[in-house]
């Protein structure tokens, strides 16, 4: 694959009405004044794209479009996604359901999926055949010339409060997926998307009990079929980790305010650029004062990170040292550096920190404010 595939990820919108008690838990409401634009995440998004060239081929939404199955929020949330898709010039939008998109607390199994199933002709997937599989088999596989996209509905059995307590994927479904993937071309980039996370996602502040039971089995199958990326929502804490050989992106939330403080996270969206089975993830944060922006300090999720790097950071550090020694100024920026050493774009947040530490302690080189910052981070030998 010579072309770059660009994927926009917008997750956990939690769109609802402003004037209900839950309205205060989200930045995204069914009615929002367009001015001041920065206080309206959609308007601020439009404004960002007016000033910066940000485009994508497809838009993925890993669920929780609405909040506590607010019907008006669901319709408006989906239309917001469509609007943003237009700004991004995407060909298609692919979504899955989150726990907030299902009426599991109604205790009426027949009505749990009523709103979702009648939302719109293109929800959650553009083609009706894809939708039939999604609703019938709880997963669907989309195969295009450029990619393979597996979407699994982790809330398929959330008919009532009892069944919604556990998230799982049964072995039969994993086997079906395995059989289906055998018929696909492994050279096509493989992405999996679910709402819930396939492995434990706990941090120091919150415990975790709602990861997909047998999710690691699914990861093993996906790895066997050369899948290179797993995207999920639900947890509003963005994260990029590797498990069973697959990078797992916890997308964070586009606009929900719940659990942000506890996890020191911000609202954000991502653009993933995939080339030669390696990826670069660019992320923008939201704040009602600054709108969508790339941050200056290394908190939460980096402005720039990636996946698909299989070398060692020690070797990377040595290459950077040689690169800098050849510069008369002993100075430069990340964009220039990555032109010569592109692997730096593909290291994950943990590897970024490790690389920065080696550069500082072993070579007296500092990247300011850090690799997370992106192209305009500067690289210098430290002044003693």
């Amino acid at each position: 694959m010579g072309e770059i595939l660009k994927i926009a990820v917008i997750s956990d919108l939690h769109c609802t009405q402003r004037d209900i008690p839950r309205g205060k838990f989200t930045n995204l409401h069914t009615t929002m004044p367009s001015k001041p634009s920065n206080r309206n995440p959609i308007e601020a998004f439009r404004k960002l794209l007016e000033n910066e060239t940000i485009e994508a081929d497809i838009l993925l939404c890993p669920g929780d479009i609405t909040d506590q199955i607010n019907e008006q929020g669901f319709h408006t949330g989906w239309s917001y996604l469509e609007e943003m898709g237009k700004y991004l010039k995407v060909k298609n939008i692919y979504a899955t359901l989150g726990n907030h998109d299902v009426a599991s607390r109604l205790e009426k199994p027949n009505e749990a999926f009523k709103i979702a199933q009648s939302l719109k002709y293109n929800f959650p997937l553009p083609e009706s055949e894809q939708q039939i599989k999604f609703w019938g088999e709880n997963f669907t596989l989309i195969e295009t010339d450029e990619f393979r996209l597996l979407i699994y509905n982790t809330v398929h059995d959330h008919y009532n409060s009892e069944t919604s307590k556990k998230i799982n994927i049964d072995l039969a479904t994993i086997e079906k997926i395995d059989d289906l993937l055998k018929k696909t071309k492994p050279e096509k980039f493989g992405i999996a998307m679910t709402h819930h996370h396939p492995i434990n996602h706990c941090n120091s502040n919150l415990s975790d009990s709602d990861f997909i039971d047998k999710g690691d089995n699914l990861l093993k199958v996906l790895n066997r079929h050369s899948f290179k990326l797993f995207i999920h929502g639900h947890k509003h804490e963005p994260m990029l980790r590797v498990s069973n050989g697959i990078p797992i992106l916890s997308s964070g939330s586009f606009s929900c305010l719940e659990n942000l403080k506890e996890t020191e996270s911000e609202n954000l969206f991502h653009i993933i650029e995939i080339h030669e089975k390696k990826g670069i993830i660019k992320s923008w944060e939201y704040g009602p004062v600054n709108g969508w922006h790339q941050k200056q300090s290394n908190t939460s999720f980096p402005n720039l990170t990636g996946f698909g790097f299989f070398g060692t950071v020690e070797k990377l550090a040595s290459e950077i040292n040689s690169w800098l020694s050849k510069k008369a100024s002993s100075s430069g920026n990340l964009k220039m550096l990555c032109k010569d050493i592109p692997d730096i774009y593909h290291i994950n947040p943990e590897e970024q920190k490790k690389l920065e530490k080696i550069l500082k302690t072993e070579y007296s080189i500092e990247i300011t404010p850090g690799i997370f910052f992106g192209d305009r981070a500067t690289i210098n030998t430290i002044y003693e």
């Binding site: 001015k35 008369a328 100024s329 002993s330 100075s331 300011t368 500067t378 210098n380 002044y383």
Partner: protein
């Protein structure tokens, strides 16, 4: 009503992008960009911060990127330095808690202020250097050399990456270290001056000057800066919030000719009060402004100011309304109409004016002849207002047929008394005052601009509130009644906002006095002078702060001036040892609707007299008058 009147358009909260996007060049800006020191004075909300921010390289770049804008080329690079009101509070607090060592308190205050000034300089360098997409080795070499110089000049901790962001981070750490030192000293009560880091003894002017010279040294050969003359303007916003030592130091700098490459652009409230320690040269500041610095007054105190304000307000309102309707063809006058008070008086059925005559000719007395609206109105008031009858009789004007004798009488009496007659005729019936009026007073494009009194923040809030009463799709005239109602509510809300300012109250001998009470007393006196008392063609509508006013009250007036509640109407002095004393003020026109006063400036009386009179008249019994608007 929400509170966006005061807060939605505060340039301190806006990013440079938004400032540049909403900026409109005015005469004050043209004065400010001249190659001399400037003292820009004005109340809160008059746009001082926007003007200062528009001197920074990034704001200029953003402005110039828009091809529709008139290109701005500044003869200097502006360094925007916001004054943190914590500086003064912290200094005053330390003066008390560390009273055993005033020297240490001064050192602490200076190091905090200096560090913030340096941070602003670094931010300006960042704007100049990092906004380009440059990747050439020369650029990185010069930048690195500059940073190494800055590390030495600022005496930063090493090792450190020679990079502007790393320097900024180090400066932030310095502030934390200083705060830690304060806390330790508060507990241990011991200070070892010898152990304090060297940067405690730096002077901000020397550090700034060295930093700017270093920038020139490294980038003067760089093609990117070949047009630059490497002059810099240190732009201090809100001088009144700075500790006194800084205020004095900066005012002394205005007269200084130490370094021709550094200019000072300072903003403050309409009167800068300096009490002590000024250099001898500074004592007669105003007299020598031509040589040294320019005083720019960003509020409306004369006809020329109002003309400039109207021109600016027209552009401002146009942009605001254009954005609201998302249409390019907007006629502001179509939306708000003209101020045609004659038309609304004619519509007042309670006056029973039948068969009014309109003379079409342009003769001087056309509007005052027998049978005209004014002729009828004068007659009407004379019937209901004995004192007015007396006034007419004293001037040999028959109230049965009140027509001007000649052009002189027309100008001196008839035209001058017109607004007073209009107001009195609405509030006086059968020689008694009444609260309710029948016609709206505040409406129409020019009235809207005038009521905002040169303050873009008021105008922004008022237009937003007026637009909320319209339909998005249709640009139809908002009725005078609706406009007047919105303006009255804003006037009322403004008084509430001012009253909630943390410094708006003080205690004196167990009694609480506050700005709201003071404003109401003054407003009530003006109302009485115009409406309740015997008719006079020269009512009282402004006041002079005389020596009978105590210091606490003077401070309250000073706060009112700062917040724009009082307007300094005879601004001869910019920097004064007396502060507000011996100076004349009127109420902001935004207050006038609340007190039902015309948007006019009237004669002054001493404030101590006004307060004495109003105290006797039991003013608060009459306040219900002001809460019955329409």
């Amino acid at each position: 009503m929400d509170t966006n009147l005061y807060h939605s358009f505060n340039a301190r909260n806006l990013s440079l992008f938004e400032v540049a996007n909403s900026f409109i060049i005015n005469s004050q800006y043209r004065d400010l960009i001249s190659l001399n020191h400037s003292l820009l004075l004005g109340p809160r909300g008059c746009g001082k911060t926007t003007l200062l921010k528009m001197l920074t390289p990034q704001a200029i770049n953003l402005w110039n990127e828009n091809l529709n804008n008139e290109k701005i080329i500044l003869p200097f690079y502006g360094v925007y330095i916001p004054t943190d009101n914590q500086w003064k509070k912290q200094f005053n607090q330390l003066e008390k808690t560390l009273s055993f060592s005033p020297d240490f308190t001064m050192l602490i205050s200076k190091v905090i202020v200096n560090t913030n000034i340096i941070k602003s300089i670094v931010s300006t360098f960042y704007q100049l250097l990092e906004n380009s997409e440059r990747e050439d080795d020369f650029y990185f070499k010069y930048k690195k050399e500059l940073c190494i110089d800055l590390i030495e000049i600022f005496k930063l901790d090493k090792p450190i990456s020679p990079d502007l962001l790393a320097i900024e981070l180090s400066l932030r750490n310095r502030i934390s270290n200083v705060n830690e030192l304060i806390n330790k000293t508060l507990i241990t009560k011991t200070i070892n001056f010898g152990e304090l880091p060297d940067y405690f003894y730096s002077e901000f002017f020397d550090i700034s000057s060295n930093a700017f010279h270093s920038f020139k040294r490294h980038f003067s050969k760089d093609l990117f800066f070949k047009q630059s003359n490497f002059r810099w303007a240190l732009c201090f916003d809100e001088l009144e919030l700075a500790p006194e030592w800084l205020q004095e130091s900066l005012i002394n700098q205005l007269r200084s000719r130490n370094d021709q490459t550094i200019l000072f652009k300072l903003t403050s409230t309409p009167i800068v009060q300096i009490e002590k320690n000024l250099d001898e040269n500074t004592t007669n500041l105003e007299a020598s402004t031509l040589n040294d610095y320019g005083v720019i007054r960003a509020w409306t105190y004369d006809q020329s100011g109002f003309a400039k304000w109207n021109e600016f307000a027209d552009k401002f309102a146009f942009e605001r309304i254009k954005n609201f309707f998302d249409k390019s063809q907007i006629d502001t006058e179509k939306l708000f109409g003209k101020y045609d008070i004659d038309k609304v008086i004619k519509s007042d059925k309670s006056l029973n004016f039948n068969d009014l005559i309109d003379f079409e000719d342009n003769q001087w007395d056309a509007k005052y002849r027998k049978g005209t609206l004014m002729w009828n109105l004068i007659k009407h008031l004379a019937i209901h207002d004995k004192s007015f009858r007396g006034y007419l009789s004293l001037n040999n004007i028959s109230y049965h047929n009140p027509i001007p004798r000649d052009e002189n009488q027309m100008g001196k009496i008839f035209r001058k008394m017109k607004p007073i007659i209009i107001y009195r005729s609405q509030f006086i019936r059968n020689n008694k005052k009444r609260g309710r009026k029948n016609v709206p007073f505040y409406f129409g494009v020019n009235n809207i601009y005038e009521v905002c009194d040169g303050n873009p923040r008021f105008l922004s809030g008022l237009i937003d509130q007026l637009l909320k009463t319209t339909q998005l799709k249709n640009i139809e005239e908002i009725t005078p009644e609706k406009q007047s109602e919105v303006i009255y509510r804003i006037s009322e809300r403004y008084l509430e906002i001012i009253s909630s300012h943390p410094d708006a109250s003080y205690e004196n001998r167990g009694k609480i006095n506050n700005l709201e009470k003071l404003i109401k007393e003054i407003g009530m006196f003006f109302y009485d002078s115009l409406i309740t008392n015997d008719f006079t063609i020269n009512p009282i509508g402004s006041f002079i702060v005389d020596n009978g006013i105590d210091k606490n009250l003077a401070n309250l007036i000073n706060l009112g001036v700062r917040l724009g509640a009082f307007v300094y109407i005879d601004p001869k002095e910019a920097i004064s040892e007396n502060g507000v004393y011996e100076k004349a003020f009127r109420l902001s026109y935004l207050m006038h609707p609340y007190f039902k006063l015309p948007l006019r400036e009237y004669n002054s009386r001493n404030l101590s007299y006004i307060l004495r009179v109003i105290k006797k008249s039991n003013v608060f019994d009459d306040f219900n008058l002001f809460s019955e608007e329409q």
